[in-house]
């Protein structure tokens, strides 16, 4: 349990420093154990009402100090309130004559179990402290060429390590091969799309609706190439766009200009 001091607020009477020490807890069970110990009550016979009130006071204190109260603390508070309410009810006797379980039992079981692991954690903490100053030696290498190769024991590799390695390779690949327009551009030539489009509007089948132009394309990259091709044809005045009514489909048709795209240089590189 770590303790920290709340800094004296600005404007406070410095002659009367008022350091507040708030113990910090690893979780709601840790806080409960602390309260039980502080009250010197038996874990098997927790005065739920008292503990519930003190637990609540602690959460209020945390909020007053602007410390975030984790959801788990609130959950256990609700549990305490529930147990408290159960305690005032007379307990039924089961058909076989045994009394119904004490409403505190589940909580007590959890506290006992938690306390064991907390105890082990404290033991491990002491064991660790004795060993932090020990240094082993980097293993010798069989071959000089291996000097740089860092090796890992397979038993130490977790599934998450595998995923991280895979992601690392992917990320490296992606930064070496930026996707998007550049690839689209190389894959779909705007000039080709312009030629296709020109052939279509000159085929004599009447105006081509813009919405038809985007049908059946392989993906975004091709759509971008087609769109750029349409804009380019409009700019060159080979194709004209018109709209018969507001929000109706835009129609593309040939201007009749006899323009060939021979020697046309794509400028969207």
């Amino acid at each position: 349990m770590a303790e920290f001091r709340i800094p004296v607020p600005a404007g406070a009477d410095l002659m009367q420093p008022y350091p507040v020490k708030v113990p910090q807890f690893e979780g709601p069970l840790d806080l409960l154990l602390h309260l039980i110990r502080k009250n010197e009550v038996d874990l098997r016979n927790i005065p739920v009402a008292d503990i519930c009130r003190q637990y609540h006071e602690y959460l209020v204190l945390m909020q007053e100090l602007d410390l975030e109260v984790a959801a788990e603390f609130l959950y256990v508070e609700a549990l305490l309130v529930h147990v408290k309410s159960q305690m005032v009810l007379p307990r039924a006797v089961l058909p076989d004559g045994t009394p119904q379980e004490d409403p505190r039992d589940e909580l007590v079981r959890r506290l006992i179990e938690y306390r064991k692991y907390k105890g082990v954690a404290e033991t491990l903490h002491e064991m660790e402290a004795l060993r932090l100053g020990l240094w082993s030696r980097p293993p010798a290498r069989l071959e000089a060429s291996e000097a740089e190769a860092e090796e890992t024991d397979l038993s130490e590799v977790s599934l998450f390590d595998l995923l991280t390695f895979f992601k690392g390779a992917l990320d490296r690949y992606r930064s070496a091969h930026p996707p998007s327009l550049e690839i689209a551009h190389q894959k779909y030539s705007i000039k080709e799309k312009m030629e296709d489009m020109l052939a279509r509007v000159r085929s004599g089948g009447g105006p081509v609706p813009l919405s038809d132009v985007f049908r059946g394309l392989a993906g975004r990259a091709e759509a971008i190439a087609v769109f750029l091709a349409v804009l380019e044809l409009l700019r060159l005045r080979v194709v004209r766009a018109r709209q018969e009514a507001e929000f109706s489909d835009i129609l593309l048709e040939s201007t009749g200009e006899d323009v060939t795209l021979e020697g046309y240089e794509e400028s969207y590189r």
Binding site: L29, R44, E113, Y117, G119, H125, S136, E156
Partner: protein, 218 residues
């Protein structure tokens, strides 16, 4: 003890003995390995018998302790390794340009304790036992290679299972996870205080409840 008084200059050695050549060989092996080497490994590499290796290890261990030496034998993770002595932590770090090793937080230690005793165990099970989400502790422990994954549990959500590693044993100086205090000892150590003073409000309560370990039935 000791039938070896042929060297009058040396203090009487009460411990086991081994030919100096065996001790030197085992020292060379441990020195080169860096990691804890098991007796089986040392036997395989040295072509000595297991008993000879054991004897050499013991002689080496005592020799390193007796003289004011810079290294000592560390028996850990089912094997032995050489480590620099604790007291030289600061100069060693200065030479290597390393910061001090950080202690694990209590949150991580609690999480690790649960994994050590209940392995393989899932994150939801750990959260249930601790009463708090333990993802950041799991991350720390995975990063430090003190735990690793052990597949998935076949329950709803197929959560990942976690277990401790050899590095866990090395970190805490354990020979085996079995060397942790047993659950029964834990009950005695950290469990319920005997309820002698307790007024039996609910006399029908079975006493065994106190020792119960399974929280999942709650």
């Amino acid at each position: 003890m000791s039938g070896e008084l042929e060297n009058p200059g040396s203090p009487p050695s009460p411990g086991p003995s081994a030919p100096p050549a065996h001790v030197a060989l085992v020292e060379a092996l441990l020195f080169a390995s860096g990691k804890p080497a098991s007796v089986e490994r040392l036997v395989e590499a040295s072509e000595l018998t297991a008993a000879e290796v054991e004897a050499a290890l013991e002689v080496l261990e005592r020799a390193l302790e007796a003289d004011a030496r810079g290294v000592r034998l560390d028996r850990v993770a089912g094997g032995a390794r050489l480590v620099s002595r604790n007291e030289f932590d600061v100069p060693v770090r200065k030479l290597l340009g390393l910061e001090g090793k950080n202690k694990l937080s209590m949150a991580s230690l609690e999480t690790l304790s649960i994994i050590a005793y209940r392995q393989p165990v899932t994150a939801p099970e750990i959260a249930e036992l601790r009463g708090v989400n333990s993802a950041s502790s799991l991350r720390t422990l995975l990063d430090k290679k003190l735990i690793t994954t052990a597949g998935r549990k076949e329950v709803v959500g197929t959560p990942f299972l976690y277990k401790t590693t050899k590095e866990f044993l090395v970190h805490f100086g354990l020979d085996d996870v079995k060397d942790l205090p047993k659950p029964e000892d834990l009950d005695a150590l950290y469990g319920v205080e005997t309820n002698t003073s307790q007024t039996e409000l609910f006399p029908g309560e079975p006493e065994e409840k106190e020792k119960e370990e399974d929280p999942s039935d709650g």
